[in-house]
Amino acid sequence: MSFFWTRGAASRWPSCRFDPVAAVVVRDLSVARGGVVLLHGLAFTVEPGAALVLRGPNGIGKTSLLRTLAGLQPPVAGRVTGAGEDAAYAGHADGVKAQLTVAENLAFWAGVHGRALDDAVFRRFDLAALRERLAGTLSAGQRRRLGLARLAVTGRPVLLLDEPTVSLDAASVAGFARWLQDAHLAQGGSAVIATHIDLGLHAPVLDLAPFRAPADAPGSAHEAFL
């Protein structure tokens, strides 16, 4: 079952070529969740065409770091450049509407990002047979594939992936890694990936454990209204 890009096929999908973008640069970043500083002194650079794999035990702040890069929460200290407007975030939830079909879901995200929906994306994420199925009737793995297909639809060059392979089977994981390598990174895109499994990417691994903030680090006061 080979449903993702094969080598060379990506060039037939010109909409996935990215304009040259700046590298994602993180300097002296501190990240908090719920007023508790989790990571501090974080610094790395992800060049276009490169990926960075985040490792670390549960609760160290991988999700909070990705949300900070995506602009969903402000950093406690430090600077992030090159992500934000260029980044597509994929978290634990897929953002899939159960009452809409697979095609309607993807068409919506294409519309929000001002792009046309390319039929190729259904083939590449093995969704062709599921096009007219209501997303609510998909299995967890199929739903995750739909969530990942959204990333291709947005056409954004920087992917921020939080455990992207959860509930995918081995073939789908391999297919997704191939898509990431051949159709995204090879086209000048970049990615920051928090994952516990080896995707087989030629990407450096950043262990977050040395950046764990001390328990008495100054907290942040960014709380919700209610």
Binding site: L72, G95, K97
Partner: protein
């Protein structure tokens, strides 16, 4: 923005989307009122604009917590906020979709429901006008309230407490416009005030809603 409005309309029309709930609620209120205050036709006709306005308010209130809560649950709200759509655009699109699925049907149905309360023909037209002018403000204020209570467990009651006082000016001028119009009195003041309130909410609240959304998604 168009994509978001169209998606919300489609979701509202699908199973479990809640379209028509507000309308059915208003119908029940209008049916109950004559049982409560008796079959005095003159009295019913006199209170009909007020009853229909309060009913419309409560019917709109019913569907407010769906505006952002469903998108928050399935994770699409953070994806929307990080999309090229500006936060203000999201707020306006959400309010527009809410008005099209609740405010507009209520506006169109109210004159017909007025028949049940023996509302006179000219009064029905004035009520239609007043609701058409006022319900967009109800949706916009409600969208703001939904953003403020985002992520609060069982935020529905809190949302009502927050939003109903803000609805008061719309109710006052809306009901007054319908009453004066029906009685043949001067309508300029309530008409201008109601239009002004609606325009002011549409101009200001999208910005407040966008800000609150960002803070609540942190």
């Amino acid at each position: 923005m168009r994509a978001l409005v169209l998606r919300d309309l489609r979701l509202a029309l699908r199973a479990g989307g809640g379209f028509g709930l507000g309308l059915a609620f208003l119908l029940i209120i209008v049916t109950l009122v004559p049982f409560g205050i008796g079959p005095d036709r003159a009295l019913l006709g006199a209170v009909a604009p007020g009853i229909l306005w309060v009913g419309a308010l409560l019917a709109v209130l019913l569907s407010l917590d769906r505006i952002f809560a469903l998108d928050h649950e399935d994770g699409s709200l953070p994806l929307l906020v990080t999309s090229p759509l500006p936060g203000e655009g999201i707020a306006l699109a959400k309010a527009a979709a809410h008005w099209l699925t609740t405010g507009l049907p209520i506006t169109l149905a109210a004159p017909v429901l007025g028949l049940l309360l023996d509302l006179a023909a000219p009064a029905r037209l004035w009520l239609l006008l007043a609701l058409a002018l006022g319900t967009p403000a109800l949706s916009m204020i409600g969208t703001f309230g939904a953003a403020v209570t985002l992520g609060v467990r069982r935020g529905g009651l809190l949302l009502s407490l927050l939003v109903l006082p803000l609805y008061m000016p719309v109710l006052i001028y809306g009901a007054e416009l319908a009453r004066r119009g029906a009685a043949g009195e001067a309508v300029t003041t309530p008409l201008l005030m109601l239009a002004g309130i609606t325009l002011a909410t549409l101009a200001l609240l999208p910005f407040a809603t966008a800000l609150v959304l960002r803070v609540n998604l942190r």
